[in-house]
């Protein structure tokens, strides 16, 4: 079997479109997941035991089961309970919730890492709870949650390949189809690995850049 790069060039428009779908779902899933995760972590922190325990249970289930099974259940099992979603919305929903479970744990750790005295100082100055979260906790934990968030985003990108099983026209679906169509499985798999790796590398570099920009106030000297 020969490695034939011509196959890639021939299907370039489809590959670009698949990459676009993957990027869009990944970024939207990340943003939504981060938002939901932050809300969950905040509710668990301030909502009392009656909120903390059920939410904790949901987080544990989501973290304890494979994404493949979760997405399969929602897409193929959803219609039995009246939830019929198209592949793309279903994929986005699944990816967001899956990410949210992990982000909520990252933010929980972030909340815990801010010294309580910083909150007390704000309380003494009359800050409301929301003002404390917005002005003190969130900016202070940004630096703490950044490295694990970048790490999670990388994992999330790779997990998004699972969406191919519910026929979302993303990168893995597209490129596998090309592989079967052209009998060029090696090229297809190789190409997939390269594209995912390039995106991951770009995300990691962006993360490191943000980290060094954010952290100037912690380490610089007068």
């Amino acid at each position: 079997m020969m490695f034939d790069p011509g196959v890639i060039l021939k299907h370039l428009p489809e590959i670009i479109s698949g990459t676009g779908v993957t990027l869009a779902l990944w970024i939207a899933g990340m943003v939504l997941g981060m938002f939901i995760g932050f809300v969950v972590a905040t509710l668990r922190r301030y909502g009392g035991v009656m909120v903390d325990i059920p939410l904790g249970l949901v987080v544990e289930v989501l973290r304890g089961t494979p994404f493949l099974i979760q997405i399969f259940l929602v897409y193929y099992g959803g219609p039995f309970v009246g939830i019929s979603l198209d592949p793309i919305p279903c994929g986005l929903l699944g990816l967001s919730i899956y990410a949210a479970a992990y982000y909520s744990e990252i933010f929980r750790a972030g909340y815990g890492a801010v010294p309580h005295g910083h909150v007390e100082a704000a309380e003494c100055l009359g800050f409301s709870r929301l003002q404390v979260i917005r002005r003190i906790l969130l900016p202070e934990m940004a630096l703490i949650v950044l490295p694990p968030s970048v790490n999670l985003s990388v994992i999330l990108l790779k997990e998004s390949a699972v969406l191919s099983i519910i026929t979302v026209p993303e990168l893995t679906t597209t490129v596998s189809a090309i592989g079967s169509q052209e009998y060029a499985f090696l090229e297809a798999i190789f190409l997939l690995a390269v594209i995912y790796w390039v995106i991951v590398e770009a995300a990691a570099r962006l993360g490191r850049f943000a980290e060094s920009r954010f952290s100037t106030y912690r380490f610089s000297t007068p």
Binding site: G117, H118, A121, C124, G126, P139, Y217, S220
Partner: protein, 263 residues
């Protein structure tokens, strides 16, 4: 006699079953410096934190300039919690300075001092920063306004923390061991700022290991031991010989730490 700035009645504080403060009755006179001294674990910091409402007393009442702090006694004589807006209004009269400074690391000195004006009191940015700058000048740090806490010495950080509390024009300032986390060389600059504040007639409550400061600047000394207020009075009376035996014992440990003048 004028109304005390803070009045504490029958205050009890327990952490779980452990009593930390018992039957505290204390009046903090207005415009004076009141010092709380005592060995570690005597409850002096907890008492101060109750005055700042960072700890909620288990029993008893605290009033600030005649207004109940946190809890009030209803018509049936039961202790009831006040609504949070009212609690915040009473707390606004009180400024707090912490042992660990507790500056916000993501804001400059100017940001730290102007933040509450902007966020809580909705003062326009420019005006808030002007007022913050005036406070920084007061503590001698106007040329450090753009520095982040990590770029300041401990003494400078504590002075920024004092400026931050003063920016909201509190009527009472509480100090929780403000120099304990500082090198001996840096305590001087913080004590100087506190002396200036006392000279301006600020009502101050200071928990401190600086017995020398307490004896020279304090108008009222309260000695706590094992959660009880052992004695309260003017420094001349409290430190006069013969002393209360427990105080004598406590002071002995301080003779080589700036209180030798009292021996």
């Amino acid at each position: 006699m004028t109304l005390p700035a803070i009045s504490v009645r029958n205050l009890v504080k327990r952490f779980g079953q452990t009593p930390v403060l018992q039957d505290i009755d204390l009046d903090i006179p207005e415009g004076k410096v009141s010092c709380l001294i005592g060995p570690s674990g005597s409850g002096k910091s907890t008492l101060l934190r109750c005055l700042a409402f960072l700890e909620e007393a288990t029993e008893g009442m605290i009033t600030v300039n005649g207004e109940a702090l946190g809890f009030f006694e209803n018509a049936r004589g039961e202790r009831e919690r006040l609504p949070s807006t009212q609690i915040r209004a009473v707390r606004a009269q009180i400024g707090m300075v912490f042992q660990q400074f507790n500056l916000w690391p993501h804001m400059t000195a100017l940001g730290n001092v102007s933040e509450a004006l902007k966020t809580v009191h909705k003062v326009p940015r420019k005006e808030a920063e002007e007022r913050a700058m005036a406070q920084l000048k007061k503590v001698g740090l106007e040329n450090r306004a753009g520095h982040y806490p990590a770029q300041l010495s401990g003494g400078q950080q504590q002075r920024v923390a004092i400026a931050r509390a003063l920016a909201l024009s509190p009527k009472i300032m509480l100090f929780d061991e403000p120099t304990s986390a500082l090198d001996p060389e840096l305590t001087g600059e913080v004590l100087t700022v506190m002396r200036d504040l006392a000279a301006d007639g600020m009502t101050m409550v200071v928990v401190s290991h600086e017995i020398g400061f307490a004896a020279t600047i304090g108008h009222q000394i309260s000695f706590l031991d094992q959660g009880r207020l052992v004695l309260t009075g003017a420094p001349a009376d409290v430190f006069a010989k013969p002393r209360h035996p427990r105080l004598e014992q406590f002071l002995d440990t301080y003779l080589d730490r700036g209180a030798s003048m009292l021996a």
